[in-house]
Structures are given as C-alpha cells and as structure tokens.
C-alpha cells in the first residue's frame, strides 16, 4: 500500500516553506508595528463553540471535521478548528476581556471538508482581530493594515471590494419572508447564491429598485452609496442606518486615497458579520476577506464588545509569490573531511561551530554524496597539523590555510 497523504491534505516542501515563511514574516512584522499582538488557539475546540453562536451556516457546520474526544461518552464532540475568528473571540472572552481594546493577530490552519477532494481541506490563514472599537476608523485601520501587508509582499495591484452585511440583512428583511425563509435566504446569499434574491420580489417597488441597483452596479466611491440612499427615501430605518454606516466608512476610505469597488456580493460564508465587509483579490482570485462583527462576542456570552478583523489566505498567496531563494543570502559553507576518522570529524564539528557562530550557514559533506548549494568549501585534513584547503566555488580559487581564525578571515574578506 502506498503511503499517501490523506485526501485534501498536502505536504509543504522546502520551496513552499520559503514562500510560506516569507508571507508569515512580512505579516508578523507588519502586525507588530501596528500594535497587534500574536496569539495562538488550540487545534481542537468543542463543536458547540461553533454551533451555539448560530453564526456558521449549517452548510459550513456540515463540513467540519468532528469526532468524539476521549471522554466522548458524554456525547460531546470536538472539531478541528473550522474558522479562525470564533476561537479568537473565545480566547478574548476567557482571558483578555478586561482590556478595553485588544489588537490580536494569528497565523493558523483551518479545516473544512471539501467534497471533491481537489481543494485543500487544511488551509492556512494570517488574520487580525481588532476588538473593542466600533469606530469607522477601526474598519479603515484593518483595511489599510491588510493593504500594507500585501504591499510589503510585493502585491500592489490589490483589488478591494466592499459590501455591508447589515445592509444585506436589512434588505432581506424587507422581502416579506417568514423568519424561517429569511434565515434560509441569508444562508443562501452567504453561500454565494445571489440568484436567490432575483427570484423574490418585494412588495415595495423601491426595495426592488435599490436591490437591483446594488446587485447590478459596482460603485467606485461613496457617491454611489449617497445616490442609492437618495433613491430610497421610503426604505426602512434599518436600511437607512446601515447605508449611513456604509457611507461613513466609504467616505473615510475615499479621503485616505484607498481605492475600492462597492460590490454587495463581496460577503461569503460567515453570518457573524454585521457591518462593512471586504474581500481582497489579486487578478480575480480572492486572497483575503474580513469585516465587522459586533454581535459575535455578546452572542458567545461575552460583554457587548464590537469587533472587526480580516484573514489573508496563505495558500493562494503562496502560489502567486515568485519562487525565492533563502532569506539573507549569507554565503553557505560546505565542510568536508579528507578522511572520515574520528579525529577529522571532531575537527569538522569544531570548525563548523566557529563558522556558524560567525553567522555562516555551514553543512557537512561526509561521504561526498548529493549536490549541495554553497559558496565555499573547506577540506579538513587527516591530521590536525596539516593545513585546511579552502575553495571559493565561484572564482574556482583554492588556497591552503592553517587555522580556523584564518578561514574566518578569508571568508569575511572575500564575501
């Protein structure tokens, strides 16, 4: 039987990990500068953490990896973390609730079953959560932070699409559906089925007009939202206040010179969003998303703490990054022994330690096997009294040196 990875799981090879760490490093450095502290939550959580808030759609809950824990006789199931934000909210409620403001960041894997087996079932995210502020400036802060991370990664043609969960929910409310149908409609929209909306006609023609203009048109500035508001004077207070909220953030982004597109469909998956939502894309591929979720923490039994956050999707970003060589290209040194005697090997190790202490990546080639990538090679003599042979690979120059100090000197001078 072949030893394969489980369906939907993948290995990250050295080249993948160079990209992966590069993304992580840029993200982490950026977050620290903006005052976001890193946290990590466990891989296993109780399933009721995700069912009890009623904020993941049944479709998403049907795709979690759930199983019985070792105390499973109690009927309690655990899941492999299916979402990044809800565990952070739990962490905040359990440990940090006394803080007025918490800026947290995380790098985590999330697990979600995919029927086809072609998609990854384990995916990586870099995310931040800004807890404790209801200000529009907080929404702007996380959007700008996301843009800066992407900029530092070299992605400048970033697409930003804005939507508003509160507005979508307020619009659905106007369709005159029963509470059950309304929940189902929201679930369908969040699962990406926007056709569902066109099938339903509201009793109020104004709502239909507003809906179709939001569905068909893509605004490029807050002016679009002002226009929409002007056209819906008869709309419910709920719609109006959500539109106002949306306008505030769009106006703020306008003044910050942040380009965006208003696309009501730019929400997927998460019912916990209450306000402005956004998706980030590169060349048509969605590489991140986020939004405001003011009800999540109170729903989970915490205080009435407003919050917003985003996650960048590491897997598509890795594919878009150019292949990189190792960070900080300091010269690599290959150490060989002329003869593999205990004496020579001892000398190899002590030479390598000095080289590493001096900051050089040093590896051994004891049996002259395999191909190595290096700048310098040093042959350690059979006898301690004999000189070392040091070769600069690029220049093909070879010379003999007598001490470790001299070796360090040669490398430092020529690199």
């Amino acid at each position: 039987m072949e030893n394969q990875t489980c369906k939907g799981m993948r290995d990250l090879l050295p080249d993948d990990m160079l990209r992966f760490r590069h993304i992580e490093d840029k993200f982490r450095t950026c977050c620290l500068k903006w005052g976001y502290q890193e946290v990590k939550t466990p891989t296993l959580e109780y399933i009721h953490l995700f069912t009890s808030t009623g904020t993941l759609t049944p479709g998403m809950l049907g795709k979690v990896y759930s199983f019985l824990d070792w105390n499973g006789w109690s009927g309690e199931r655990v899941v492999l973390r299916p979402d990044g934000t809800i565990p952070i909210a739990r962490l905040y409620i359990n440990n940090l609730a006394e803080q007025e403001i918490a800026r947290l960041s995380y790098i985590t894997n999330i697990f979600s079953f995919d029927e086809t087996g072609r998609e990854n079932r384990e995916r990586w995210q870099c995310g931040v959560e800004f807890l404790g502020s209801a200000e529009a400036a907080a929404d702007a802060e996380i959007i700008l932070l996301a843009r800066e991370v992407m900029h530092n990664l070299g992605f400048d043609k970033l697409g930003l699409r804005l939507s508003h969960a509160g507005l979508v929910k307020a619009l659905v409310k106007e369709l005159g559906l029963s509470p059950g149908e309304e929940t189902k409609m929201v679930s369908r929209l969040l699962d990406g089925d926007w056709q569902a909306l066109t099938a339903v006609k509201s009793a109020k023609p104004e709502i239909d007009k507003l809906l179709s203009s939001l569905l068909d048109l893509k605004g490029k500035s807050s002016g679009f939202l002002h226009n929409a508001k002007a056209l819906s004077l008869q709309a419910s207070q709920d719609i109006k206040s959500n539109l106002d909220d949306f306008i505030t953030i769009a106006t703020l982004l306008d003044s910050l010179g942040c380009n965006y597109e208003i696309d009501i469909k730019a929400i997927t998956g998460f019912e916990y969003y209450t306000g402005t939502c956004f998706q980030l894309s590169l060349g048509g591929e969605t590489v991140g998303s986020g939004g405001r979720y003011n009800d999540l923490i109170p729903l989970m039994g915490g205080r009435n703490v407003p919050a917003c956050g985003f996650a960048l999707y590491v897997d598509p970003l890795m594919n878009l990054l150019p292949l990189r060589s190792a960070e900080g290209d300091e010269p690599k040194v290959l150490v060989k022994a002329e003869d593999v005697t205990p004496e020579a090997i001892e000398l190899c190790f002590s030479l390598a330690k000095s080289l590493r202490d001096a900051g050089y990546t040093t590896l051994f080639d004891f049996a002259s096997q395999g191909k190595f990538d290096y700048c310098w090679s040093i042959v350690v003599p059979k006898k301690k009294s004999s000189p070392f042979t040091i070769t600069n690979r690029k220049q093909g120059k070879q010379r003999r040196v007598v001490s470790i100090t001299e070796i360090l000197d040669v490398i430092e001078r020529q690199s």
Binding site: H48, T51, S52, T53, G54, G62, N71, G75, E115, T116
Partner: protein
C-alpha cells in the same frame, strides 16, 4: 472486490434482512430473477440466480447496504430510503445512485419527544433550553436535523436500538423509525417532524451504472420502478393531541437500572428471578420496555446491551446488566470512562474470536501477520460489530495495514467476499462452521456482568442500595 477488467463481469446484489425481507422475496419471485431459494424463511446469506448465471446476491443488515453499494462491493442494492439518507447526510459524495423507490416498506423516520416533556412543536425546541440530547440509530440524520434547526448546543447519542424508551428521562429527543404517527403516540411519544419515508429503494453503485451493463437486471424491475421522484423534504407536524394520562410514572427513583433485550433477555430474567427480584413485564416471552420491579427505590428500562456502557457512563443509568464484550468495547475507546464492572454474573458465555475463511492458509494470528506482511492481503479487511475490540486486537498483534469495516450484525456473511477477517462472538462455533469459517484465535470469554457508574458508587445514598442489589445477585450465582 474484483476490479479486474478481464474477469467476466458478474453482477452483485445486496439485499436486506429484517423488515424488508419478506416483501423483497415476494418481489423477486414476481420478477423471476431466478433466486429459487429466496423466501421469507431463507436462512442463507448467499443466493445465485439460475436464470442469470452472472447474477448473485448477498443478504445484509439493511444499514450495511448503502455502504456496501457505495464502496463498490455491490452493483445494486435494496434497502430503506432512511439508511440511504443516513449515509448521504454525512458522506454526500458517496458513489451511490438512487434509482427508484419500490412500492413497499412502510413507516417513516420521525423526530419525537416524550408526550410528558412539554415539547410540542419544532419552534418550542429552538426557544427552550440549550443543551438537547438526541438518541438515534440514525446519528447522521439526527445531527443534520439539529444543525438545520440551528439548535445551539446538542449532544447526539448513537444507539443500536430501542430509541423509543429513552425520552424523557434519558434523552430529550429520539429520531426513530415508526410505522405511523399513531403507533408512535401509543408509545407515549409525540411526533415533532417527519423527516422522510422509510420505504424500500433500489440503489446502484455509480461506477457500476457508468461502466457495467446492468440492463437485463434493471429491465426485470421494469414496472416496479416508481417514476415519481422521491424527495425527503421534512414535514413539520403540528401536534394537538397530548397524552392525557401518563402510562408510566416519571417520578424519579434513586437507582436506575438497565436490562438487556435480545438474546440476553431470557437468561437475565431467569437469573433475576433466582435472585428474588421480581419484574413485571420482563420475562422470557414478555417485553415491556419499562417493566415494574419489586424494589420501590429502583426503576428499570430495557435497552440494547450494546448501548449500556455508554448510557451508564453518561449517568443515564446507575447500573446495567450487559456483556463483558460490550463493556470492553466501550472501555477500549474511552479508557477514562466512569463505568466499572461490579459483578460477573456467569451466564450468557460467548467467546470473542478472530475467524477467517476455511480456505485461508493460516492457523493462527502469527501466520496471519506473516501473510499480511507478505503483501498478498494488503490491506486486510476486517469486519466486526466490536470496532474498538477489533482495532485494539489488530494493533496489539501488529497486523498492518488493515481496513476496519463496522457491521451491524450478521458479520459472518462478510467473509470471504467483503472481508478477510472477522472479530465476532461465537457460542458453540456452529455458526462459524456453517459459514465455512474457522477460528484462529480466542480474544477472551465474555459473560453477562453487572456494570455501574463510579459516580453513583461514590454517592452515599446510592451506595447502600447498590450494595444491597449486588448481595442479592451474588446469592443467585
């Protein structure tokens, strides 16, 4: 499973035991598929068609059929619509095609609650308390129901049977099969929702339907196929009638005891009689799931022995009489479970054996290991009702790699076509011989035993009564 292209393409059918067997046998006689010995009284597991030489059939527990067809061991199968949906609820990508409803098989799958629980409709569930316990033989359907309803916190307890006796004390809801609402109501339950009909259904393996010529067989079904598409849109039921008088007392007694149904019922009732414990409604030929006991501090329910260790562990029962086999199967999975054996009762002895086909050239587990290591049996397919016992046995004996096939009874029918090794109980060994199997190892001997919840033993109020009961039972040994 044969997937060689050179072999003549045999067509294999999986047919149901139990409630659908008589009507399936009638249907097959009518269709003239040539299974001459197939009747209501059939005791054989394997059938061969005299009309279509390439056609054979095997009889399974209904629940196993969708799985067997989906994994491609069988091309076609007949089973209840309920078991198809149970599989698809958890594994929607299964390679299983629903061909057509057949016009027999009664009943529906209902979501039920006790008529005394105060739950009368679905919205009532969403509003009230937030930790619902649900028992079911259909754990996947139960979970899908709970998720779709957005119940906030819930626990699903998979059980082997007797779901109707759990509410209200030992579960809030039971998802179960019932002939109709009237029958459910007569058991002191109310129906909250009708999830789906449980009629017989013809299914096919997707690959078989795409690559194999099944037309001759499908043509025989011809007129029996129901053209109307069957869907499983749940029907919410409005329950107006509430049971006026409880037919059992729900006054909580101090000690809750579970007694077994099935094979263990007769010896257990005899043993209890010897111990001077009188039960009204629990005898060799009589089964009331809530029998009355002549101890005023105890109440009794009759459930499946397989379910007892878990039900004692979660505190629904203080004590239970079950088999050592099921206790071990539980403890191997949950080593820190608060269930403990209190007394060996000595009766109902079975051996838990590892068995293989007569034709397999191994005499013991060491030879089996060598055979598996040689690569001629890779991975070895192991069928068992005792999933955790089988798992541990294979690990302990370093048999690897293996695939474990959980079964719901009649496991002996799996070997040799659908499994290579069987971990099963054997009383006399006659069943093994009858199915051309041989035992290569005895894992342990299992007898009936009294098990208890450690927490109950720690309670001073309960301890005295439990000790009293142990003394009585010990005297009858």
């Amino acid at each position: 499973m044969s997937n060689s292209k050179d072999l003549p393409k045999n067509i294999r059918l999986a047919l149901p035991k139990g409630r659908l067997l008589p009507a399936t046998a009638d249907l097959f006689n009518e269709l003239a598929l040539g299974f001459e010995s197939f009747s209501n009284k059939t005791r054989r597991y394997r059938l061969h068609s005299v009309r279509f030489p390439r056609l054979s059939a095997k009889i399974f527990q209904e629940k196993d059929i969708p799985v067997q067809v989906a994994i491609g061991n069988y091309d076609l199968g007949i089973c209840g619509f309920d078991w198809i949906e149970e599989l698809l609820a958890r594994y929607p990508a299964s390679a299983l095609i629903k061909i057509s409803s057949l016009n027999y098989g009664e009943g529906n799958i209902y979501v039920t609650a006790s008529s005394q629980s105060g739950i009368s409709d679905i919205p009532g569930l969403q509003d009230k308390k937030d930790n619902w316990s649900i028992v079911s033989e259909y754990p996947n359907l139960a979970e899908a129901f709970a998720l779709n309803l957005r119940l906030k916190v819930f626990s699903i307890f998979p059980i082997w049977g007797a779901a109707e006796v759990y509410p209200p004390e030992d579960a809030d809801l039971a998802v179960l099969w019932g002939k109709n609402e009237k029958v459910i109501t007569s058991r002191g339950l109310i129906c909250l929702q009708e999830l789906m009909p449980a009629n017989a259904f013809l299914i096919a393996n997707q690959g078989s339907l795409e690559n194999k010529d099944l037309s001759q067989i499908l043509a025989c079904f011809g007129s029996k196929l129901v053209s109307k598409a069957q869907t499983s849109v749940p029907k919410e039921l409005k329950t107006q009638v509430r049971a006026a008088t409880p037919y059992y007392s729900t006054r909580a007694k101090e000690i809750k005891l579970a007694l077994p149904d099935g094979h263990q019922q007769a010896p257990t009732s005899q043993f209890l009689k010897r111990a001077g414990i009188d039960l009204e409604g629990y005898a060799e030929d009589q089964l009331d799931r809530r029998p009355l006991i002549n101890l005023d501090w105890a109440e009794v329910k009759v459930i499946r022995p397989q379910d007892m260790p878990l039900q004692v562990a979660n505190g629904n029962f203080d004590l239970a009489i079950t088999g050592e086999d099921w206790l071990r199967n539980h403890l191997y999975r949950f080593p820190s479970s608060p269930v403990t054996k209190l007394l060996d009762l000595g009766f109902g002895m079975v051996r838990i054996v590892a068995a293989v086909s007569h034709d397999m050239p191994v005499a013991n587990v060491d030879e089996l290991r060598v055979l598996v290591q040689s690569g001629r049996l890779t991975p070895i397919r192991v069928a068992s009702e005792y999933v955790n016992i089988a798992d541990k046995y294979l690990r302990d004996n370093r048999i690897s790699p293996y695939k474990l096939i959980p079964t719901w009874g009649a496991s002996e029918a799996f070997v040799p076509e659908d499994a290579d090794l069987l971990i099963d109980n054997a009383q006399t060994g006659k069943t093994l011989t009858l199915h051309k199997l041989k035992s290569i190892d005895v894992l342990f001997e299992s007898t009936a035993c009294l098990i208890g919840n450690k927490g109950s033993l720690d309670s001073p109020d309960k301890r005295g009564k439990i000790d009293f009961l142990i003394r009585k039972l010990r005297a009858a040994l």
